[in-house]
Amino acid sequence: MTNTLTMDKPDVRNRLDAMAQGIIGAPLDRPEGPLKVVGTATYASEWQLPDMAYGVFARATVPAGKVASIDREAVLAMPGVLAIHDDPRMLVNPAQGGAGKKPLQDIREIHYFGQTVALVVAETFEQATAAAKALKVEYAAPDDASVFDPESSAATVEHGPDTQRVQTGDLDKAMADAAFSVDVTYTTAGHASAAMEPHASIASWQGDQLTLRGSLQMLNYNVAELADSLAVGQSQVRILSPYVGGGFGSKLGVGEDSVAAAIASRELGRPVRVDMSRQQVFETVMRRSETRQRLRLAARADGVLTGIGHECLVSNLPGEQYAEPVTQATEFLYGGENRMLSVDVARIVRLCAGSVRAPGEAVGMQALESAMDELAEKVGIDPVELRKRNIPAIDPSQGTPYSSNTLAKCLDAGAARFGWDQRQTQTCATREGEWWIGMGVASAARVHKLVEASARVTLASDGTVKVETDMTDIGTGTYAVLGQIAGEMLGTPIEKVSVCLGDSALPAGPGSGGSWGAASSGSAVFLACEQIRQALAKKFQGDEEALSLKDGIARLGEASAMVVDLVAGKPIVGEGTIKPGETSKATRQASYGAFFAEVAVNAYTGETRVRRMTGAFGIGRVLNEKTATSQCYGGMTWSIGSALTEELAFDLRDGHLVNHDLAEYHVPVNLDVPALEVVFVEERDPHASPIQAKGVGELGICGGAGAIANAIYNACGVRVRDFPMTLDKIIGGLPD
């Protein structure tokens, strides 16, 4: 029987701290790291199946309308070409994260420029590529004119989800009565996930059973999405995704490649591999919406907020449910009884908007934290102090207590490590040669979510331990931390623990997304191990809580034995399932942090260089100091991208993405990223999970760009309210 825990009450037992192995939290290497470095970790497109054919998509070269005709004969006559598919089940865009059902289908209808319109299958990848490019498609024009610009007055604007609306008190009055107020509008550009590994799928059928090798983040949901798209039973679908070369949201839902590969393979009776080019990934996989954010802050003379407004405009295709949840952290981060939060959606014709790296907070926090800096200046107090004065006792929107809130500690710890006391209050106060130097701070916050997850752990007769779940590791360290939890719980040295992931035949995990992976799947592993511990304790006729396991030796009271002797040739299998429960309703759960940045702005050219950046984070229990730190490095790097370089450039005449490759879509490169410093504010959050861990992956992005914006202002007196803060937005305001 599965050991199931529904998180209805806090788990204050802190079991992991009572364990003896001493590897939890340790900065252990990722076990799959060497495989990735030497190239033996097999990514989706790298499997060599016998008799494989290759599929490549042709792309729509109009933004709207219908496919009127496809000149099949000419392309079918090309060397090696086997088939051309435009099956009505093929996907217009990927499923949204966690959808668990099919997304929009039928590619014969054009919804945006660059959409796939057909899959061409050939004997070789090169033949398929040439043939897909040669495919002539005629289109019938749409009935109505399309709108490509979210700011156009012709765009239909709808209210976003009600769950994102907060309206309490009277914000207008609070603004009028405020001793100090800020009423500013910020904009942020659209972003691409920009994962290194392009999307690819290999489908093969054995009778009615489909095996799909893909690059996907949430297998449990992906099986449902793929089965629903193909109109087959879920039991007919198995997905393998043991290694994923980065996801950042772009591989949450099943995409065009998976469904097309399955259809083509079925028809051909051979395995079919579908690769997307870099440009196709940019053009057809989710974008993060650009945002317009009006921020209103009303404060008393001492800086304490009386009101907070965060009203946003984002965009998506007509009919798509997803709206970038920009105000997600504004709901609970700062006090103020008069609140007005909303997200509206402009319906426009561009590729689908969906989850990209910390949806919501990534762009919402940078605007909020810039506005807070503007307020601090008006009030005339230190921006760190302003933030600390506004940390509420309870969640101001829901009225619930915080499960834990480390914001003040993070601000203090970060300020001390960074040397915040060196900051000049005046702008333009420090000049080194051609460069203006400045410092800025911002808070970090990201909602924590526990997601249902299961895992199986086997203690084998030789004393080795195997962890199994369909959870994925998208480069984050899942292999490492799940092994550590099992090793800690079962007193097994890490070399004797193996972790199997990324196979949908294994117990269903939560998937990698929304930073819930480690806490959720880690809890399932914890519960499975608890069951094994109970079985071992039984052999002593004792209590599990009194059992000590270390290096393969079990002790309970005076008695002790080798674990292998207790197992006695019969492997012990533990199964664990964690489910979210009352604690997520009774408490506001989030991880917090603080960013400190020092920048240099060139007095001539307006180029900004981040010189150093410190992040202090409270993420509950740190499961592996190295992988957690690396997650924060990654997040902070993305925050530099969001601050300075990243921008999807759309042509407003047809909605097509102009910079659809990594040469022109600028992610930060090594030289853009200075020495980053990460400080953890250790805590145990008993409401968050039975392992007291919370989310970490995305937190490092959520607000970092605000610290950089504030540092730019502190350096040169230019307040940029349009991200990314490229030099053209700075030069006009530089002092002579």
Partner: protein, 322 residues
């Protein structure tokens, strides 16, 4: 990518007579072939031709066409006597790319205009007569000088900007024999024939670039771009300036990122030479540079940016920051 034949040239004459597109490092050509922006039926590989030497010639240096960018940037003579060239090379692309990229290929690299590289878009450079979709579109990286109604693309490279400042000469082998063309005249303005980036004819092979004898002065290559590295120039300036008794004795400047070719205007140096450096003087030089400047919307900022960058470079080289 379309199917093509491939042959390796045994001699420069082979390469000229091959009736084929030359491939050197392939770092630009292969990308464009994958996109089907370039669709050569035949490729001739010139990498093994004996054109990989850097030798003294006429008081200067003769750089073979297949000398790698990394090797050229690291050459001690180049670093000592032509620092602007070494700096420009190192400001370009990435270490891996520079290891493959060649002198000839770098000169011939094509524009990064996002409409040129997308075969679904009208583009006069790729498909003469189809129109220029960059006009009225996303043209952040496009030209503010010397553009035409037919094309507003920029030449994206760095190396050639330094070579223009140094007044280097391109040596070309063609069906009608060999000839020399100044780097300053090698690239063209788009006019009504933007499909032609430069003066090369289809069969022409660049065999070398020669640098004249070194001139005295301080060298700078300033590249302003959208991230710290691995991005093309929004504005770049190659400059060699010599000071004598508080006055500018000689100056040579060329500009990248502004036009369809490295921009060289002798009138800019004329304004500077013989004068004591000052902000007012630098402004006058910028006035000359930007007299005909025309923004396209998304690139309007390049006009003040070019002025500001010129100030930065001249302040650095003359020591005049007041």
């Amino acid at each position: 990518m379309k199917a093509f034949t491939y042959a390796r040239a045994g001699s420069t004459a082979d390469a000229v007579a091959a009736d084929a597109m030359k491939i050197a490092g392939g770092t630009n050509l292969l990308d464009l072939m994958k996109l089907e922006v370039e669709v050569p039926r035949r490729l001739v590989d010139i990498n093994r031709l004996p054109l990989a030497a850097i030798e003294p010639a006429g008081g200067g240096l003769r750089i073979g066409a297949v000398v790698r960018n990394s090797d050229l940037a690291a050459d001690i003579r180049v670093r000592r006597d032509y620092a602007v060239l070494s700096k420009a090379l190192l400001a370009g692309a990435s270490g891996q790319l520079r290891n493959k990229a060649t002198t000839g290929g770098n000169l011939c690299q094509r524009t990064r205009c996002g409409y040129f590289t997308d075969t679904a878009m009208p583009c006069n450079k790729r498909e003469p007569g189809s129109g220029c979709q960059a006009i009225g579109g996303f043209n952040r990286i496009h030209a503010i000088l010397g553009a035409s109604d037919a094309c507003i693309a920029t030449y994206p490279g760095d190396m050639a900007v330094a070579m223009s400042a140094l007044d280097a000469v391109v040596e070309i082998e063609g069906t009608a024999g060999s000839r020399s063309v100044a780097v300053r005249d090698f690239h063209r303005l788009p006019g009504n024939t933007p499909e032609r980036d430069n003066v090369l004819e289809a069969d022409d092979l660049i065999t070398a670039v020669t640098l004249p004898a070194p001139v005295p002065g301080r060298h700078a290559y300033r590249k302003v771009r959208d991230r710290s590295s691995y991005a093309f120039a929004l504005v770049s300036i190659a400059a060699v300036v010599e000071m004598d008794a508080g006055r500018i004795a000689s100056a040579s400047l060329a500009f990248g990122g502004l036009a369809h070719k490295p921009w060289h205007d002798p009138a800019i140096a004329e304004i500077l030479i013989g004068k004591a450096p000052s902000k007012a003087l630098f402004d006058k030089a910028a006035d000359v540079l930007l007299a005909g400047a025309q923004g396209q919307g998304a690139n309007d900022f390049k006009i003040p940016l070019a002025r500001r960058t010129l100030h930065a470079v001249l302040a650095e080289l003359t020591g005049e920051t007041a």
